[in-house]
Every structure is written in C-alpha cells, then in structure tokens.
C-alpha cells in the first residue's frame, strides 16, 4: 500500500530526472553528428578525452565561468551583506529600501541584458557619457563590451546588479532571526559594532550565507542569456562561458555526443562544488549545536 502512495512520485522522478541523465550518459559515449547523419557510433571515452585534453576553447570557457562564479558571486555577497546591514539599521524607509532592491530580481535576465547593452554602448550609451562629463574628459572610459579586457566584466556587472539584492534579502532574513537578547548581552559585555558583526552576527549568518553562495554559484555557472545579449562570447572568445559554448555545440553544431560529454563534466564540477559547500554547512551546523 505504501509503495502505491510513493509510486507516482517515483515514476515522475524516474521519467523527468533519472531517464534524461542516463540518456545523456549514453549519448556521451557515442559520436552523433546530427548535421550529417542521425546514426550513432560508439566511441567509448573519446568524447571525454577530447573535451579534457584537446579542446582549448572548453578550458577558456571554464576559466571565464570560474571568474564569474568566484569573483562575481563574492562581490554579490559583499554588496548583499552591506545592503542588508544598512537595511537593518533603517526605520521607516526600510520597506521602500528593500522593495527598490527587489526590482532587479524581478526583471527577466533577457531584459536586464538588453538594458545593460544600451548602458554600456560606447557611442550611444549613457555610462561613458556620464563618466566623461563628470571627469571633464580626463578619464576616457573603455568600450566596455567591445574590449576583450572588459567584456567579461560587463557580464559580471550585470549579474551583480541583478543578484546582489537576492543576497541582501537572504542575509536580511538571517539578521532578523538573530535574537536581540544575544546582541544586547554582547553590548552589555562591552562589544562594539565591529565586534558584534564579526563575533556574533557573521558566525550566526554562516548557514544562510553558504546556502546563498551555493544557489548563486550554481546559477552563475549556467550564465547564458547575458552572454548572448551583451557580447555573443566576444570579442574573440574573451567572454565565452561554458553554458554558451555547450549551447553552440549542442544546438548550433548538433554534435550531440560531444555535447553530452561536456555537459557531464560540468555536472560533475557542480556536484563537487555543492558537496564542498554542503559539508561546510554541515560542519557549521554541528559547531552551532
């Protein structure tokens, strides 16, 4: 009887998660070039070896993605933390403050990508115009999306603009859950604001921060829409992310076996990152208890 109750959920899980995963794994060991033929040819681990040892573009895309994940999410954390601490200090204006910062989260990435494409435009965009006016032409800002040194930065800045408020929201909720008595007691014992933050608030926020980082890292690892809208991966391959490169292989080149191998490698990377963060969180929770 109990089995019957869980059967629908199990079937759903098998059909929506397990089957595609197994099918992708099966695809990763065949050569399937749909642009020339629908026939599959078993090639063993060749696709994996080719991705890992013979595809410099894959590693370049992984490198770009790593920059977005590590640097971009770190900036989101710092900004989110700062905004949350500011919000906590506010009285009446807090609701408006939080609501305003929620707007970027509500906007679809495709829209924010388009907005920033206009903002970063060197010829017609407002950003460089403002910089030049404010500095009286002393600072000559770069052509942001057209410069290989700054193109990835534009994607990162857009992502930070959109998602730092998410970190703010999460951390603010964490801050609200800290017992005021605890903070009062620390104050009575002579703790200053800095010590309150480092010794009380931050340790108690660690679980929330780890979850926030995990969500944002996994999400940033899949950055695709901003790349398409802002740079198309260029100039050259300076802003090509792994999600964009995987898309090209899968849905432009239709090299299905190769793409499956690439997707599996990414899955393994994401699983490793998740495991690391979850084990840190587990250790943290153990320490708290």
């Amino acid at each position: 009887m109990a089995l019957l109750f869980v059967l629908p959920a199990v079937l759903l899980l098998l059909s929506l998660t397990i089957y595609p995963l197994i099918r992708t794994l099966a695809l990763s060991v065949v050569q399937l070039e749909l642009s020339v033929s629908p026939n599959e040819k078993f090639v063993g681990l060749t696709n994996f070896i080719k991705v890992l040892t013979g595809d410099s573009r894959f590693w370049n895309a992984m490198g770009n993605t790593a920059v977005l994940v590590v640097v971009g999410v770190a900036i989101q954390l710092v900004l989110g933390m700062t905004l949350a601490l500011m919000a906590q200090q506010m009285g009446r204006g807090r609701t408006i403050w939080v609501t305003l910062f929620l707007i970027p989260i509500m906007i679809a990435p495709v829209v924010s990508g388009f907005q920033f494409r206009v903002i970063f435009n060197d010829t017609f965009g407002p950003l460089n115009y403002i910089i030049e006016k404010l500095t009286n032409g002393v600072i000559q800002p770069p052509a942001w999306t057209a410069n290989p040194d700054t193109s990835l930065l534009t994607i990162m800045m857009t992502d930070v603009w959109q998602w730092a408020p998410f970190m703010m929201l999460l951390i603010l909720a964490g801050l609200e859950s800290i017992s005021p008595e605890l903070l009062e007691a620390a104050k009575v014992d002579g703790a200053n604001a800095w010590q309150l933050f480092w010794r009380i608030k931050l340790p108690l926020l660690m679980s929330v921060i780890i979850i926030g980082l995990l969500i944002r890292m996994m999400d940033t690892f899949k950055t695709f829409d901003l790349v398409v809208l802002l740079t198309n991966g260029g100039p050259g391959d300076s802003s090509e992310t792994i999600a964009y490169y995987t898309y090209l292989n899968g849905f432009q080149f239709f090299s299905m076996g190769y793409t499956a191998a690439m997707a599996f490698i990414q899955l393994i990377v994401i699983i490793i990152i998740s495991r690391v963060f979850l084990s840190i969180q587990k250790r943290q929770r153990g320490a708290d208890e």
């Binding site: 020339v36 057209a146 100039p235």
Partner: protein, 494 residues
Amino acid sequence: MFRIRFSFVLFTTFVLLLGAVVLAQDAPQPLGITEFEPCQPFDNVTVTVVGDAGHNLAPYDFWKDDFAAMGITIEIVEVPFADVYQKLKTEFVGQTGAFDVVTFYPAYIGDFASNGYLLPLDEFMAREPAAVWDPHQDDVLAPFRELYNKFGGQTYALTIDGDVLVLMYRQDLFDNADEQAAFKEKYGKDLMPPETWDDWLQVAEFFTRKAGDTLAGETLTEDFYGASEFAKRSFSYAWFMNRAASAGVVYFDENMNPRINEPGAVAGLQNMMDTLKFAPPDVLNSGYDELRDLFIQGRTAMVVQWTDVPKKAADPTQSKIAGKVGVGRVPGTEVNGEVVHRSMMPVGRVVAVAADSDVPEAAYCVAKHIAYNRSLEDVSTSLTGLDPYRQSHLDHPEAFAALMGEENAAAYLAGLNQALADGFPDIFIPGSAQYQDALDLEVNRALSGEITAQEALDNVAAKWNEITDTLGRENQVAVWQQALESYRALGLIE
C-alpha cells in the same frame, strides 16, 4: 463602483487604441506587374509556416485574402532569428511534422536537403498550367538560384530574401568640392567611392575626424569615422570574406583542404584589422543594428551592409542622411591587373516544403505565392526586411519609387544589380554552422588584437580539418565537390 467603471473605460480605451495602432500597420497594395494564377481552391487546408519572428513573416498577413481564396488558412510559428536552425533541426530530427512551409537561411540547405528533410520541388515546378505552378526560377538571379535553391542538381527551396552586402557611402561628402580638393592634395588622386580595399583604407583614413574638426564645411560636434565594420561575433567572417574572396580565395580546394590561410586571405584580414583604426572605439561589438545606426545617424562615411539599409537610410523618419546616400559595389582586390569584386551573401531567406508535410501541394502553393507571385510587392516595401533577388525586381524601379523616390530607386537598384553580380556564398554544405563559427571566432580574435591575421587563419585551417574529419571526410568532400560545380557555373572559380 466608480473605480471599477473608470478602470473598465481605461481598459477599453487602451484596447481600442492598441487595435487602431495594429490596424494602422499598412500592407502593400498589389502592383499588378507580376502575372500569375492562384492555385485551385483546396478544401480548407491549414498550412503551418515557420520562420524568424518579425517583419519578414508579414507577407503571410499581407496576402491572407489571397490564401483564403485558395482555400488555405495560414498558421504562423515565429522563432527568434538566432534559433531558426536549432528549432527546425530539432523538429526535423524528431520527425514531428510540425511545419509545412519552412523558412530558413540557405547556409543550411546542404544539411536539410542531404538529410532528406525537404521535398524536392522540381515536380511541382514542372506542372501545368505554368501560370499556377511555375515559380520562374530563370528570373531568380543566378547566385541565389544555383547556390541557395539547389542541392545535388535538384531544387529544394525558393528564395524570398536576396541578402547580399553592398557598399553604402555618403554621396554628399564625396561630392563636396572642398573635400575633393583636400583629398587630391593629400593622396594625389580624385576622391571617389573606393574601388579596391586599399582605396577603402585611404578614404576611411581621410574622412576620420575629431569633434571640432571641419567636415564638408561644417564643424563637427562629435567624432566622425571614416568607415566601420561588422566586427561583432556572428557575422564578422562575412566582412572578412568580402576581401578574401575578391583575392581569389575559396573556402576549400577540391579535396577539402582549407584555402582560408592563403596569402590573399591573410592580406584581406589585415586590411579589415587596419580599418578598425578609423572606426568607433566599440566597433568590436558592432553588429547589424550598431552599424546601421552609425551610418543613418550620420556618424560614418562608409559601411558595407545588407541591402535593406539603403531603404532605411532613405526614410527621413529614421535617418539623418536621407537623400545623401550612395550605393555601390563592395570594394575589390586587384588580381592580375584586374579588380575582382566579391559581395558576400550572408543570411538570406528561402522557403521550402517539409518532407513530412501532410499537405505538400498546398504548402508549395504558399511558398510559390510568396517567392514569386507577390515577391515584388514584398521587397519594395519598408514593412518587411526582404530584399530583391529577381531580375524582374531590378527591372521595376517604379515599384520602389514610392519608398525612396524615382532617382534614388534607380540608383539603389543599379548598385544592387552590381552587388548581386558579385555575389559570393556562405559555406552551405552540412556542418556549415561549425565551419562558420570557427572562422568567425578566429577572425574576431585577430580583430581584437589577440593574435595575428596569419595565426588566426592558420587556426581556422586546422579547425576546419578537424571538423571535416569528425563529420566524415569522404562524404564532406563529395558534397563540397558538388558545391564547387555551382561555383564554377557562376564563374566564381575557374
């Protein structure tokens, strides 16, 4: 209660206004120039048409009464521009039969036709009476007919959009006496639209001015650029191939060994890299929109662009340079004492009948109606982005006069005629997306200064060999040799 009533009135007003705006979107009137007879009425069949979203699907709406008279209801599926290939390929592989008429970029004809996704059209085209069935392919300009409609000797698609690149320049600047004199003094020759890519660089250098400088007797309030390029990832390869092809470079030799790193191609890429000195600072992220706006906002002297841009430049509601635009041949390269011109034909659109269509006959009638019967109306309006591709389009400047005036229309079509005669195709064999992406990436890396022109094109050659081996060299060579026959027929190679 008042609030509800007010909201209702507001909503109704909004809906009515929206309706008025939608209705205001005009449709071109039948010109009565093309002679045809419609297909005999079908028994209320529905034909599903798929294509890139936006104004290029508008003709199906323009001519809905024509289709209704044929007993055909059109159902349109719009797909974003960049996703057309992906969408079609996925549906074809899945054999879903979702579409009857498919609109796609002809670079994929080799892929779609060789995999059996499309119905050969020759049998329909030969049916009698000719007024109903014949799409007059002999009227279609040779590069489109031979390279983009046929595969393996059979016709699989009909052109509906004759994309080719043309040179556009500021006629008023070239005609200015002060500028002519200054040019003559500096370079010792007359100022005229560039004949070669070397001339292009000179003219670009000459017209590049800073804010505060004088241009044609007027003081500039912002920087002015001599030329610009499509240097963004996606089609930058086409702007490079304009140069390489004019130096006699074809993508591969008979055995599919890449020819893309030959000296002529390297010089061509170097020329494109050198042009960037005279282009806006953000040229590396300049695509169709940016390049068009730069030109029609009067910020550059010359661009090479698709043939719909002169139509937009002629429209004073969106252009600051209406009436000041010249259209001409894309510059060329001197080979054996003769200047050879080549204009790339990137994108373009063709329609075909899906092999798994349940209503192939009706689907063909729809395709033919758009590709021939009403094509002159569709290419001579600013309501679509479709460009001329038939001799009959070029022979009727009066059809374009309402849009740009008789004189401009004649000059536009004359420029187009030349550009089309120079047409050079994309790679259109299976795997074209991979070959093009590899070329585009390396061209872009060279443009951004990451690597030299020679390194970039050597990388392309190596990558192309890898792609050919992965896709199956033997088959690829066979398909390529068929393509070369078309190149030969058009005189693109000896």
